[in-house]
Assembly symmetry: C2
Homo-oligomer: 329 residues x 2
Amino acid sequence: MKTVAAHAGVSAQTVSRVLRGTGYVSEETRAKVLAAVTAVGYRPNAVGRSLRATRTPMVGLLITDITNPFYASLHKSTEAVFRERGLTLMLLNSDDDRETERQQLELVRSYRPSGLLLAPAVHSSLTTEDLVGFGAAVLVSRTLPGLAVPSVVTNEPEAMGEATRALLAAGHRRIAAVLGPQAASTTTRREAGYREAVLAAGVEPLVFYTDQTGPGARAVIRQALHTHPRITAAIGFNAPVTEGILTGLRDEGLSCPHDVSLVGFTDAPWMAFYPPPITVVRQPVEAMGRLAAQLVLDLVDGKPVAPEPHVVPSTLLHRESVVVAPPGP
Amino acid sequence: MKTVAAHAGVSAQTVSRVLRGTGYVSEETRAKVLAAVTAVGYRPNAVGRSLRATRTPMVGLLITDITNPFYASLHKSTEAVFRERGLTLMLLNSDDDRETERQQLELVRSYRPSGLLLAPAVHSSLTTEDLVGFGAAVLVSRTLPGLAVPSVVTNEPEAMGEATRALLAAGHRRIAAVLGPQAASTTTRREAGYREAVLAAGVEPLVFYTDQTGPGARAVIRQALHTHPRITAAIGFNAPVTEGILTGLRDEGLSCPHDVSLVGFTDAPWMAFYPPPITVVRQPVEAMGRLAAQLVLDLVDGKPVAPEPHVVPSTLLHRESVVVAPPGP
DNA sequence: CTGAAAGCGCTTACAG
DNA sequence: CTGAAAGCGCTTACAG
């Protein structure tokens, strides 16, 4: 900037004023400065600006795994909102590991970001006080008992209940709920919806926990089919788990929907053209992302944000993977 | 840091020395400083450090779309390499748009990163001189004529040739190559492999360009099937295009592999359990990511890096979507 | 409308 | 082994 100033024959502050477009600058000086900027090939330095501002125009997005399409969509939708406001999204992976999560959090914090969007690891040890320094922190998708910050979730109990009732209505009585890790808030909430629906129908709950990956779910469903050979329907916790269930069925020589009806939680592109197309609870990822990003912006602007979870509704999308249950013994 | 220094009764430089673990510090002073650090709840400020260093310990990763699983995997594999070296990966989406790409590039540059990993947009206008200021810049997956920087690609012509020959060997003679945008280097390289294989067999090339998205490919394959009703096989440019082909076949009441055999370029989880499991060219994404990241590190370390493209081989994975061609007229 | 001074938090020589 | 000084690039009051 000093070089530009010297070249234009003005002071550094004047250059700053021209570049920021703030305050009064004569047309003549502005032109001189702009000419000098291109002449010396000046590129602004965001580090200097951030240091002076004691705040970096960045928002951290701490998730567990970017290869999970849910989080990839979340990144895309939040990034668009922040970019419009001149904020850069800084993506951090926790690998769903408590220690890595802490390290990554320290890392974002060291850059003095303007905000944080967080989907905590399953066994996260984070508490509210770990989030001091992040003026604006918002949880998304997953919540955590010890973390008193605003959050955005979907209506998991209701949506899971609806999925379960769709299977019950088709006559299914042995419905496996293939969930995620028992410690995850998402599992707890979806399990509650499932149990309530199943109990209301006088049907015994069949709950299985997984590590919410495809291979993990594949092993679990195979085991489940051996222990409970009369299972006629399953619900997949997320897209990878739904993949795992289909792979497991294939392993066992069973077909969907002929032998086992299936409802997935969270849509994926392949589910639309898979034979059969998979009936799913469609999570409004983009809407959740946009809302969560907006809450961060509101906090940044000092606007009040309700502490209760912000709920964006999911909807059940009927496709062809649920059929009438075979007559039982 | 000043607060810590005051609390410990030492100077700021001593605090700095203790924190960086460099230079001589007496055990006693070190203990005092460490105690003061926890007492005042000191958190290092990366912005101050970066300003002084005139370089931020970050590497930019500029891609077109994080919801493309290929790029999500690329992020994951490169991030792991950089994290080990204490570098943070900064993810930027160009949306495959030339202007956005430039803006995002300016943005990373303003943070004075240590390096850049770049998969250029299809109609990118970037040239070598746009990359000054990025000491270490490496292209990954896509290359660009005007960009003379090291690159990591896969052996696209050979792999595409192999895929084509697998279909030819099964007796197919009307094989549609459903490619990406004509301007993309990936399209050019894969098309070359296809054409060479097909011409060697005395078969007429059937080339179709798409925007490399599922919906785009779906429309294109439907059109192609109307224009060339005797197509008996197709090759999908990437995972989304392969999805689009399957959806398009479904639209037209055709089945894979009975009516149309299919080979995909780039694997996806669902392809393993889809009925039929899809035969694919498996791109070594993780290996490409690790190598590209390593090249950036080598450049950062001032080690020499070969300017020729670094090729990581893909392999054809035979599954069940290729069957013997129906007898033609 | 424009400039001189100070400082954001850190580290790098340079003294002692 | 430890400290005083300077400066990385910028912006914010404060003068004029």
